[in-house]
């Protein structure tokens, strides 16, 4: 206990130097926590957005359906069997029917995927209520990327051409009833949403779907429907985030190294300058190990003070960032990243960071302090090595 008290007093006694070291270390603290919180925030938002807008707790796919192969889409649909229909009626599942179709904005043909989705669904965040229509009018919902690519604006009309189940051409004017803003590029690029019921009519199908979005994720098995779990559907995002995390680690490590360098430097000089003090301690009856401990704790305590200092300016800073978010624009690489990322500070993250910083600074404090153990008390008292 005496070691702690002594260390604390010595540290505060050193004044400016201590605070310089502590402030550098606190920067490392704040930055490490901030960076990881950003990544966690991105991850959580990305997952949440994908789940809220696209996959909920998983999807059941028609066995032929392959998200990346448009050629599979037209034949991948089947009727909803009874247990599934029950889930749909209860609002636990949302069927989606996918078909290829074309639109002709400004006389140019553009291939799209037409997605029928029940307008009354509430599992996904898509504003499908906009698809409700009392008249015969064909109302479509598109995302902001699609709107940009096809140069369509709200309430514009565009000709849609599709083929029904028999291959007969059909075409109709379609009004853009809503443009949604969503970070999940995959449900936006080249996709047009219309009412599920209307699409069944258009295709001459009755209650057939390509995929089912599952609200609860109970993992129930149905024959002829393949369940795809969220972890399967989110694999790419997970990998991307993992790789960003690793690239961040290098940066954090360097920053931590700088801070540790400061402590190390301080320790070496402290021991050099305070030989008399060391001698005095030993003369007063402390064992060398105890003296080593005093110095180690003194060095290590920088990190404790740094944590406190970091908290003093870090917490308000984090709170501020949390209220405004960090603008990432919308870097569209087909990856899901929110326009505004809000960092997510987990207790685990803070604790791990504290442990890492405290342990590493204690270690760098200990290394120079070992020298003390080799000193002769008489020489030390005189200030000689």
């Amino acid at each position: 206990m005496i070691a702690f008290k002594l260390a604390y007093k010595n540290l505060l006694g050193a004044g400016l130097r201590t605070w310089l070291n502590v402030s550098v270390l606190s920067l490392a603290f704040v930055l490490i926590i901030f960076y990881n919180a950003m990544i966690d925030g991105w991850n959580r938002q990305g997952r949440n957005d994908t789940q809220n807008w696209e996959i909920a707790q998983g999807q059941y796919w028609h066995p032929e359906y392959d998200k990346y192969d448009v050629y599979t889409i037209n034949d991948a649909h089947q009727a909803l069997i009874n247990p599934i229909q029950k889930h749909v009626d209860a609002g636990r599942m949302v069927p989606e029917l996918l078909q290829q179709a074309s639109i002709y904005p400004q006389g140019r043909m553009q291939s799209i995927i037409l997605r029928g989705i029940p307008s009354e669904q509430s599992v996904l965040k898509l504003p499908t209520h906009l698809l409700k229509s009392d008249s015969e009018e064909l109302i479509a919902l598109i995302g902001k990327r699609m709107a940009k690519a096809s140069k369509l604006k709200l309430n514009d009309t565009v000709l849609l051409r599709w083929r029904d189940k028999n291959g007969t051409f059909d075409a109709a004017e379609m009004r853009i009833g809503g443009i949604f803003n969503c970070d999940v590029a995959e449900i936006d690029n080249g996709q047009i949403y219309i009412s599920y019921a209307l699409m069944q009519n258009m295709m001459g199908l009755s209650n057939e779907a390509t995929l089912l979005v599952d609200k609860l994720g109970m993992g129930e098995q149905f024959s002829d429907w393949d369940f795809k779990s969220p972890s399967f559907l989110l694999k790419e995002l997970d990998e991307l985030i993992n790789s960003e995390r690793i690239s961040g680690m290098v940066m954090q490590l360097i920053l931590l190294l700088i801070a540790l360098l400061a402590i190390f430097d301080t320790q070496i000089l402290a021991i050099f300058r305070r030989k008399k003090e060391i001698g005095t301690y030993i003369a007063l009856g402390l064992t060398r190990q105890q003296v080593v401990r005093v110095f180690t704790i003194e060095g290590g305590m920088h990190s404790v003070l740094a944590a406190l200092l970091g908290a003093v300016y870090g917490i308000p800073l984090f709170m501020w960032i949390d209220s405004v978010g960090i603008n990432f624009g919308s870097a569209d690489m087909g990856i899901t990243i929110a326009e505004r990322v809000y960092p997510y500070y987990s207790l685990q993250l803070v604790l791990i960071t504290i442990v890492v910083v405290v342990v590493s600074s204690t270690i760098v404090s200990f290394i120079p302090a070992r020298k003390i153990a080799r000193m002769k008390p008489t020489d030390a008292l005189k200030g000689k090595m």
Binding site: R108, L159, N166, T168, F169, A171
Partner: protein, 246 residues
Amino acid sequence: MCKRFILIGVLLMAIIAVLKSQTANEIMQKIDDNMSSENRVVESSMTIHGRRNSRTITSVSYTVGTEKSFTEYLSPPREKGTKMLKLEDRLWTYYPANDRIVQISGHMLRQSVMGSDLSYEDMMDDRQLTEVYVAVVESKEEIDGRSIFVLKLTAKVDDAAYHSRKLWVDAEYYLPTKEELYAKSGQLLKRTQLSDFQKVDGRWYPMKMNFKDVLKQGEGTDWEIISIRFNEEIPDYLFSKAALKQ
């Protein structure tokens, strides 16, 4: 009394309707008689108007009935030797450059042929009008000094690519001068103009056609018959994959 008149009236109208539709179906039958045949050999050129330039491709095709067809491209050099075999609803193409036979199936059939306004499906759908549609005469008009029947055709089968068609039929030649293809909803999708009617082997045949996908910009695709012969001997071995490689 009143009732009887009404009954007679209804009956008369029904008879007229039947007669009228019969005439319409008869007209359609006459078009089919002109346009389709047991077999034919056609040498033709297709001019595709691109945004940048136009290209003309010549080919010769051998057709038996509506199911079998064999086409060989003659020019330009790039296309020469390329062959196409259609058996029922299957299509193969042969490329001499690397001796490959490629099956064109599924969605590729909906692609345009050599950048034209025609899809493979359009080319392959050789069924007679009477097989697919029922017709009514919508009106009789005088256009450019010729009397024209305007026929409205509506699909009677499920798998017609175009749910309805409108034909402007020349009353003398029983050939359409213009044809419009409609989607189920009534949206106009494609327009064909036929001209230069000539009598070949006792039947009238259009020697020039222009196909236009009206949803797209552009001038459409011109098709011109260089020569056409009906009822030729076409050996059966031509309609085999082996013949593609010869």
